[in-house]
């Protein structure tokens, strides 16, 4: 499709600007020419060109509203429309972040209640809603861990990270100056306790654990894990990316986690927006409350206000207070579902994942054959051995059947990994059709492997040359 720049024609525009109702002053008399730009190279298009351009672009995109999107560890559940409508109310969208607290009592009440509800669901003493995304929440959490030990006068250099972890965990640790050490998984997909006991010294600040982990498995030895970490004075960090698995079933705070970060855009149904915005609240146990970022909301009777008066805080991790309108959507979602709905969401998410696991395990290798939580992980190793068809080929072939592929090649400890997270909002019929497609592809890999290797067949573009893209990067268009 042509670029918006290629559709540009001098003199056109899609948005006009009102005539000035105040005196117009010659710009050069106000601002010296050395501060001014000569040229403004933006596309010039009419409104209908603009609308058609972006509408046609949208038709070359795939979202949850178009079909099943079983992307593992991403929790692509349905994004309820009412939440979009409610967050778009002008009462919420038009307020300036520096509006006096007396103008923002509704917003402050909502944020304060949200913090409390998340505290109840996850068993944490206090939450901050500031981080803009999960990885930003991790960074915030690790900053608090660092400050906690500084305040205790301890110097700890290491953070332990299981080999199943998301890449954001080691990257967040490194961004705070920690050295990260990889912790092995055991044969059943959990933490190798002997390895943990060996690595866990008084030089270790924290273990960053995703539970259930990226194999979709709940850490059965969680009590022992927490004990080993705490015995050496370390902290247990929980990556809440997979929180959709246990709402109302258990609470990280009760399991011994000291810090957890959530992803409202996963667990609490706010849309992913093609890559963002998200929201990554961080919950902490009592011993870390003093280190939370500022500002924090303080309640006095029925009134709420912002306060910065917390001397041990890590400071600010972003400007203002967080991705407010994302939080509004998640709040509306939690209130819609209520206690019983949240429990049912996790139950049906886990049931859906187990159903897929059972239906597909005769056709794909299942490296860890036990009850899974919200997602299940297969390996495409059998297909590679039998016909040279790789996981990526099968994923691309799924596109031809009308599905978004699962997460592939992750977690790293499963070769040719196929990580399927159906979420609770998908019906049995959808899962059946998807499983039938997967089974058909497994058969096709045997009978007609080239068809799978050449997929996708019906998309606007076929497989793209990623090597060329990286070798000769073209990230900004230049006029030919």
């Amino acid at each position: 499709m042509e670029l918006i720049f290629e559709k540009s024609k001098t003199g056109r525009c899609a948005a006009d600007v009102p005539r000035s109702d105040v005196p117009e002053i010659a710009l050069e008399t106000l601002i010296d020419a050395k501060y001014l730009r000569d040229d403004l190279d933006l596309p010039e298009v009419s409104e209908i060109d603009l609308v058609r351009h972006y509408t046609n672009l949208s038709r070359r995109n795939f979202g949850v509203d178009m079909g099943f999107y079983p992307l593992g560890s991403c929790t692509m559940k349905y994004n309820p429309k009412v939440n979009e409508t409610l967050a778009a109310q002008p009462e919420f969208t038009s307020l300036h972040p520096y509006a006096p607290d007396s103008f923002a009592q509704g917003n402050l009440q909502l944020l304060h209640t949200m913090q409390r509800l998340l505290g109840n669901i996850f068993g944490m003493a206090e939450f901050t809603l500031q981080p803009a995304a999960g990885a930003h929440g991790e960074l915030t959490g690790v900053m608090m861990i660092k400050k906690y030990f500084e305040h205790k006068g301890e110097k700890r250099r290491l953070i332990l990270i299981p080999d199943t972890a998301h890449g954001t965990n080691p990257a967040s640790g490194a961004l705070c100056g920690f050295e990260t050490v990889t912790l092995r998984s055991n044969a059943e997909g959990g933490v190798d306790l002997d390895h943990l006991a060996e690595l866990m010294t008084e030089d270790v600040a924290a273990l960053m654990l995703t539970n259930p982990n990226t194999l979709g498995l709940f850490e059965r030895n969680i009590e022992k894990v927490a004990q080993l970490v705490h015995e050496k004075g370390g902290l247990l960090y929980g990556d809440g990316a997979n929180a959709n698995a246990f709402l109302g079933k258990t609470r990280p705070g009760d399991l011994g986690f000291d810090v957890i970060q959530l992803n409202l855009h996963k667990t609490f149904s706010t849309p992913h927006g093609g890559g963002g915005p998200g929201s990554g609240p961080v919950g902490v146990s009592a011993k870390l409350v003093d280190f939370l970022p500022i500002p924090r909301i303080v309640r006095k009777g029925q009134e709420f206000h912002w306060s910065e008066n917390f001397p041990l805080t890590i400071g600010r991790v972003r400007a203002f207070y967080g991705n407010f309108s994302v939080i509004v959507k998640a709040y509306a979602y939690i209130r819609s579902l209520g206690a019983e709905g949240l429990i049912r969401a996790s139950e049906m998410a886990v049931l859906n994942a187990n159903y897929i696991k059972e239906r597909l395990k005769a056709h794909f290798e299942l490296p860890y054959d036990r009850v899974c939580m919200h997602e299940c992980v297969f390996s495409g190793r059998r297909q590679v051995a039998e016909s040279g068809v790789h996981t990526t080929d099968m994923a691309k072939r799924l596109i031809d059947f009308g599905y978004h592929p699962p997460t592939i090649y992750f977690p790293l400890i499963v070769p040719e990994a196929i990580m399927i997270e159906p979420t609770e909002t998908e019906s049995k019929e959808t899962l059946d059709r998807f499983c039938n497609a997967m089974i058909a592809i497994a058969r096709e890999a045997k009978d007609n492997p080239q068809k799978v290797k050449d997929a996708p067949h019906y998309t606007p573009v076929s497989r793209l040359d990623e090597v060329l893209a990286a070798r000769k990067p073209d990230v900004c268009w230049k006029k030919p």
Binding site: L3, C13, V22, E24, L30, L36, L42, P43, L57, N61, Y69, V82, E91, F92, H96, Y98, A104, Q109, R116, A132, A133, L139, M143, G167, T168, A171, G173, A174, L175, T180, K249, D254, H272, G273, G274, G275, P277, P293, R316, V317, A319, F320, V328, S336, A339, A345, N354, Y355, R359, M373, H404, S427, V461, D465, L468, A469, A470, P473, D474, W477
Partner: protein, 441 residues
């Protein structure tokens, strides 16, 4: 309302096929002692109608301002209707990060176009697909400069947004880098001699904003010269992005990185977020910058197409050696920014001029009030600083009329007692300004 489509028969059938008797058995890996009976203190479910009514009630507890005269890092601009309609297409907003390029050509091309617009606006070679906000974009640039240069000190202008300085501080502390402030001169700008004197061979980069927090333009070219003379890099931020409709881009003045808040481009105030961090750089740093990049390539039939590229910089490939930990960004806000800028086109200049005129008019009227004084002489955009006999009393008076007044500077800048930072965008009308002056008389 729980959005689960499972009928009782479905559940029973699926449990049977999954080989378990009861749903509860699926959770048997959770040790008994940690099994929750119920979520404490959790309200019951609401119907859609009840949820809507609840959120309406909460919204009504806010007081709707008639007019907002505060900018200070978030700007009230008119958003053409077309932006909301296009961003509201579910094909965009219900998609994940475009890891599967064949299914994501729409958002990938839109991001590529956004990156191109940002590079052109800032006068830089390249731009990424967005960061969380202006402050975190600045902080990531600071950390990156320290790594590139192997130096561990950063200098930041005191005329940079106070919250941005704090965020940069938090990122620096976590990495063990030192952060030092550069004072502003009496004109409200940095003074290049002061900057030159403060740079030693441990300084990785100088960080400034233009327009700065006071609305004043910095002489970026001079400061870039000072930085370069001492082997330091220059990170140039901006406040209200619409200023770039008239202001010379920092990229043309020798900046190595340009970072800023992109909210002004088609994104509502939203009480502080979601916004988007603009991050632009010189080509030579392309392989070191944080965040996602959409790149143009060809498919196996030679057709042009787009992919996420240079992913070996990113955490999902490089883990602890990644250039940043960022994963989710603000793609939908970047999409809005791209649509907004494509809608305005060259009219962005007209809009910027209108902002200058409005701010000039407001300023000239306020300065006619007894005891009100201009503070800085440097040229500015749509914000300016004035002192008045009692800043707090002024804002209280305006609030009574439903107007959010100027940003009080004294808490962040004790040296600027009784000073207010005012902003007037195209949304402020002449009659509003005339009325404000009547209220304050």
């Amino acid at each position: 309302m729980d959005y689960c489509p499972h009928t009782q028969a479905d559940t029973a059938d699926m449990l049977l096929q999954a080989g378990v008797g009861r749903v509860e058995e699926l959770f048997s890996d959770i040790p008994d002692k940690f099994r929750l009976k119920k979520i404490p203190d959790m309200p019951p479910a609401l119907s859609e109608q009840e949820t809507a009514a609840l959120l309406k009630t909460i919204g009504a507890r806010n007081r709707q301002p008639r007019l907002t005269l505060t900018g200070a890092g978030a700007y009230a601009h008119y958003i053409p209707a077309v932006v909301g309609h296009l961003v509201g297409r579910a094909e965009f907003y219900t998609a994940y990060t475009p890891y599967q390029a064949e299914l994501s050509q729409g958002i990938l091309q839109a991001i590529y176009e956004y990156q191109t617009m940002m590079a052109r606006l800032t006068g830089m070679d390249v731009a990424n697909a967005s960061m969380y906000d202006g402050a975190s974009a600045m902080a990531e640039a600071a950390v990156l400069c320290a790594r590139i240069s192997n130096r561990n000190k950063l200098l930041i202008a005191r005329s940079v947004h106070p919250e941005y300085r704090e965020v940069v501080g938090a990122y620096c502390r976590a990495n063990g880098y030192e952060l030092e402030e550069i004072p502003f001169g009496t004109a409200g700008q940095l003074d290049s001699f002061t900057v030159l004197n403060q740079i030693d061979d441990t300084v990785a980069a100088v960080i400034l904003q233009s327009p700065n927090f006071f609305g004043c333009l910095e002489d970026v070219e001079q400061i870039a010269g000072s930085a370069r003379a001492k082997g330091a890099l220059l990170i140039a931020g901006f406040t209200d992005g619409t200023a770039l409709g008239i202001v010379k881009p920092a990229g043309e003045c020798g900046a190595d990185f340009v970072v800023g808040e992109g909210q002004s481009f088609g994104n509502p105030l939203n009480y502080g977020g979601p916004y988007l961090g603009v991050f632009a750089a010189r080509e030579k740093y392309l392989r070191r910058i944080p965040g996602r990049l959409a790149g143009r390539t060809v498919d196996k039939n030679g057709r042009p197409g787009y992919v996420l590229t240079l992913q070996t910089r990113e955490q999902h490939i490089r883990r602890e050696k990644a250039t940043s930990n960022i994963c989710s960004n603000e793609a939908l806000c970047a999409l809005a920014a791209g649509i907004y800028l494509a809608a305005l086109g060259k009219n962005l200049r007209k809009l910027a001029l209108l902002n200058v005129y409005k701010a000039q008019y407001l300023k000239s009227k306020l300065l006619q009030l007894p005891g009100w004084k201009d503070v800085f002489s440097a040229p500015g955009y749509n914000e300016f600083v004035v002192t008045c006999p009692d800043a707090q009393a002024v804002n209280e008076k305006l609030e009574q009329e439903g107007i959010i007044g100027g940003y009080e500077l004294a808490p962040d800048y004790p040296e600027l007692e009784s000073a207010l930072l005012f902003c007037a965008t195209e949304l402020v009308l002449k009659e509003d300004i005339d009325q404000i002056v009547r209220i304050l008389k």
